[in-house]
Symmetry: C2
Subunit: 335 residues, 2 copies
Amino acid sequence: MKPEMILLAHGSGGKLTHDLIRDLFQRYLSNVYLDDLGDAAVLPEQRGRLAFTTDSYVIQPIFFPGGDIGKLAVCGTVNDISMVGARPLYLTAGYILEEGLPFADLERIVASMAETARAAGVQVVAGDTKVVDRGSADKVFINTAGVGWIPDGVALSPRNVRPGDAILVSGTVGDHGIAILCQREGLEFSTSLASDCAPLNGLAQAILARGAVRVMRDPTRGGLATTLVELARSSGMGFEINEASIPIKDAVRGACELLGLDPLYVANEGKLIAIVAGADSEAVLAAMKAHPLGRDARIIGRVTEAHARRVVLKTVLGVSRVLEMLTGEQLPRIC
Amino acid sequence: MKPEMILLAHGSGGKLTHDLIRDLFQRYLSNVYLDDLGDAAVLPEQRGRLAFTTDSYVIQPIFFPGGDIGKLAVCGTVNDISMVGARPLYLTAGYILEEGLPFADLERIVASMAETARAAGVQVVAGDTKVVDRGSADKVFINTAGVGWIPDGVALSPRNVRPGDAILVSGTVGDHGIAILCQREGLEFSTSLASDCAPLNGLAQAILARGAVRVMRDPTRGGLATTLVELARSSGMGFEINEASIPIKDAVRGACELLGLDPLYVANEGKLIAIVAGADSEAVLAAMKAHPLGRDARIIGRVTEAHARRVVLKTVLGVSRVLEMLTGEQLPRIC
């Protein structure tokens, strides 16, 4: 018999915890490692360096156009692993649930995680559930950690970036953050506003095979601008970005204008930035465009020796301005 | 300049997030992998199967006798990895902070994580910080995930358990849960009540070297009894436990009597159960006792063919009763 809502006892480690594991988590996420139910999953030996990362997800609302907190929790961690050139294989999932969460909401989230994991080719191999008293959390928070292995010969790093390299973005920017904000505030600018939340491992592997990729990064919190500033600083190079080349959906641009937001600072959850040897930039761009998640890819700028550690934006009006990191909190609980 | 308290903007992914990483997390937890600040940590290739696990920590209060949420978050994950026979090496840390958390509290927690990680010989190689609005979380929740490698030849599993095996516990039970409950309720039964929170990797490695260990488990939420029931079920064997052999501190026993709790169901955070070939049980017991965290170790029972999948407790009064898993929620937010 399914419970109607989550109770404190679901986090006790006792019978109700076991019921929840068997009737919900194993039902949707079952695999040979998870089903072992040991203190830790035991995974086969793999060749290569290990990529290891984590993110917690506190997005509000938990269901939104284009996804939900479960899909986001799988994509976000798959993407972070993919950005260092690794093939993501295994995830863990840690749930913090607020007492009273409708069981049906949790089931919908776990089903979505399972579907996204399947699409990304990863398995959830270990998990944990804690329940806190009503008012001590907001519905559900999810942490995912992930591991993947980096094939020999792949070594991405901002330190590899050279003058003359091209800077590519795999598609339109700002979709995720604007979709969340409009949903949260009850604004309806357009039916085309949806999160871009997607697993990028397939796209990342496709472009790695096609040219000298120096470094990749997915521009989540802080948006394209903050990620570019981070990369410029850690590479020691200057970046020149052509504003007119940055793909932005009309609906996102319109919403940003009305809300007073800069789309370059709005979060994405299904886009990547790649810095690529100049000679390979067209081949990598073609590989991006050939992938369903890279159809709107563009070359948005290039790496220079001039203005080291800075990102200079050439605006559509022809003036140049230096981009800074996001200051303040543009949109809280966006992921 | 240190902030006085955590603001929403510390979770923005922008400048304040970067300041927090540099001025707090890197200051205490710095290592070559963490300092790389990529989307995922890139770790050297290792031999052996990979152990991978996660736990979220929502303990209340965040500071308690014997530890704090930071120490607990390192120990809990180190211990889960150690229980499958792996040597834990790397952790991730995901923080969910409530807006307004005093910076000094967070600093104390991170310093404690660093100290515990050093003691356990592990490194925090990746992290994440989210901030939620006041009232949407309770001060701080921490998720840790961890990886370790299992040496060739080590293969622990409940399926290895055989009749005649001995069941050992590494020390007194119930210390953690009772210490938390007394702190929370403002009860002072005794100054000797403190959490047993400790990293068990050293103890686990010491006993693995000394005999045929079939399986290990750390009896956290649900306590000794629930963990034994889990092991009996997954091994398919019967367990006979001698109540008089179970080490329990007088102060814990007294508190349990007054509070109406059964110490066998109270959480531990620095104890392990090991099931060991009968012939090796004295050698493994001696190895436990020789370790600072195993001084109070005891053989508490044995594995039988009789009453398969059940745990039978021979009480001090001479009667036998079948132990069940914890039902209901004995102590919420104990870890």
